[in-house]
Symmetry: C2
Subunit: 211 residues, 2 copies
DNA sequence: CCTACCGATCGGTAGG
DNA sequence: CCTACCGATCGGTAGG
C-alpha cells in the first residue's frame, strides 16, 4: 500500500520481474518462453523489451537479489554482539526458513536455475555462495570448539542446514492445516536440536559455555 | 566388469540413458538438446532414435526408476520384523543418503525435472510421491506416540528428512576430504538425532520404549 | 548409423 | 505497446 499509487511507470517492470520469478520456478529458465512471460502480464513478446533488457537479465536480478540478502543478513549478524555460536546458527536457520516461506519463487529460482546464468555472473554467484557457506561453517566449527554444537563434520552440518529448509517447497500450496508459524517453529526446532550438543542434559534454552 | 562383455546391442541404449541423466541434471530437461545428447555418445541426433523412442521417454524412465526404488525399499522395510519406528526412520534416512551419494544424476533429475513429465505420467509420479511421504509420516506419528520421536509436527519432519539429504549435491565434486563414509555417518547421525526424543538422557543407542 | 530435411518455436530487433 | 519478421535451434522423420 502507498507504493501502489502512481504505479504507471516502473510498476510494469516489477510486474514482469515477479511474473518471471514465478514462471522460472514453475517451468525452469530454459522452459520458459518470452511469449509465456508476455502472456502472463497481458502484452506481446516484443513489448517486453520496452521494460527489460533480456531474459538473462531477469534471471540475474533474481539470483543476485537473493544472494545479496543472504550475505547482508550474515554481515549484520556478525556485527551483533552478545550472541553465542548456537544462537547465531539459529538466527541463520530462521532467516532461511522465512525466506523459503515468504519468497518461494525467487529462492527456488536462485537455488535451481542459477546454472543458467551467463559467464561472468555464474562464477560470481558460485563464488559468493562459497564464501557464505564457509562463513557459516566457521560458526559451526566455533560452536563445536565451545561445546555448544555436537562434534560432527562441520561441512556436513552447513550442507544439512541449507538444504533441510528446502522441504518448505512441498509445504507451499499443499495442506495449509500446518500454519506458517507452526512450520517455522517445528523446522527451526528440529534443525537446532539436531546440531545442539546435549551432553549436559539441558534441552530447551541455550547451552552453557562448557570449558 | 563382466557386464561389459558383449555390450554391442543393448549397451548402447544404457549408454544413452546414462548420458541423458547426466545432461538433464547439468542443464535441465528443457535445456538439453537431442544434439547435445547425441554428441555426448558420439553419434548424430537422428541416430538416437534407433535406440530410444523420445526425449520424454528418457525422462520418464529416470523418474520412475527412482520412484520405484524408493517404494520398494519402504515395502521391504515394512515387511521386516523387529524394528521400532526410530530404527525404521534411520533406515529410510540411510537409504536416501546412499541414493544421493551413489546415484546423484538420476536422483536429481527425478527431484528437479519431474515437472517436465507429460500428463498421465506427471500425475502418476506425484501420486506415488504423495503416498510414499504419507507412509513415512505415519512412521513418524507412530514414533511420537511411542515416545521415541520428539513431539514435532510429523509433516514437517518428513519434509525435513527428505530435503536435508539434498545437501549431498554440494558435496559431490567439491572437496573430497570428507569421505563418502564420513558424510553418510555425519548426516544420518545429524538427522536421527534431530528427531530422536532424548528426554531420558540416553544419547547414542536406540531409545527405550517409554510408557 | 548417416544425410537431408520437416514445421514449430526460440530470444530478440526494426520500425512505427 | 503493436505487427512483422530475423536467423538459430528445437524434437523428430524419411529414406537409405
Amino acid at each position: 500500500m502507498a507504493r501502489n499509487i502512481r504505479t504507471r511507470e516502473g510498476g510494469r517492470r516489477e510486474e514482469i520481474a515477479t511474473a518471471a520469478a514465478r514462471l522460472f520456478r514453475e517451468k525452469g529458465f530454459s522452459g520458459t518462453g518470452m511469449r509465456d512471460l508476455a502472456g502472463s502480464v497481458g502484452i506481446e513478446a516484443a513489448s517486453l523489451y520496452n521494460h527489460i533488457d533480456s531474459k538473462a537479465g531477469l534471471l540475474r536480478e533474481i539470483c543476485f537479489r537473493i544472494a545479496d540478502d543472504c550475505s547482508t543478513h550474515l554481515r549484520d549478524l556478525e556485527a551483533t554482539p552478545g550472541l553465542d555460536s548456537l544462537r547465531r546458527l539459529e538466527s541463520i536457520t530462521r532467516f532461511h526458513v522465512r525466506m523459503w516461506i515468504e519468497r518461494l519463487d525467487e529462492v527456488l529460482v536462485a537455488t535451481n536455475e542459477f546454472r543458467s546464468l551467463e559467464e561472468p555472473w555464474l562464477e560470481k554467484f558460485l563464488h559468493e555462495r562459497r564464501i557464505y557457506m564457509r562463513q557459516v561453517e566457521g560458526i559451526i566449527s566455533q560452536g563445536i570448539r565451545e561445546g555448544l554444537v555436537r562434534p560432527l563434520e562441520p561441512y556436513v552440518v552447513v550442507l544439512t542446514i541449507m538444504s533441510a529448509v528446502r522441504g518448505i517447497e512441498f509445504w507451499h500450496r499443499s495442506r495449509k492445516n500446518v500454519s506458517a508459524a507452526s512450520l517455522e517453529e517445528s523446522m527451526v526446532d528440529l534443525i537446532v536440536n539436531g546440531i545442539r550438543n546435549d551432553t549436559d542434559g539441558t534441552s530447551d534454552t541455550h547451552g552453557p559455555a562448557l570449558p
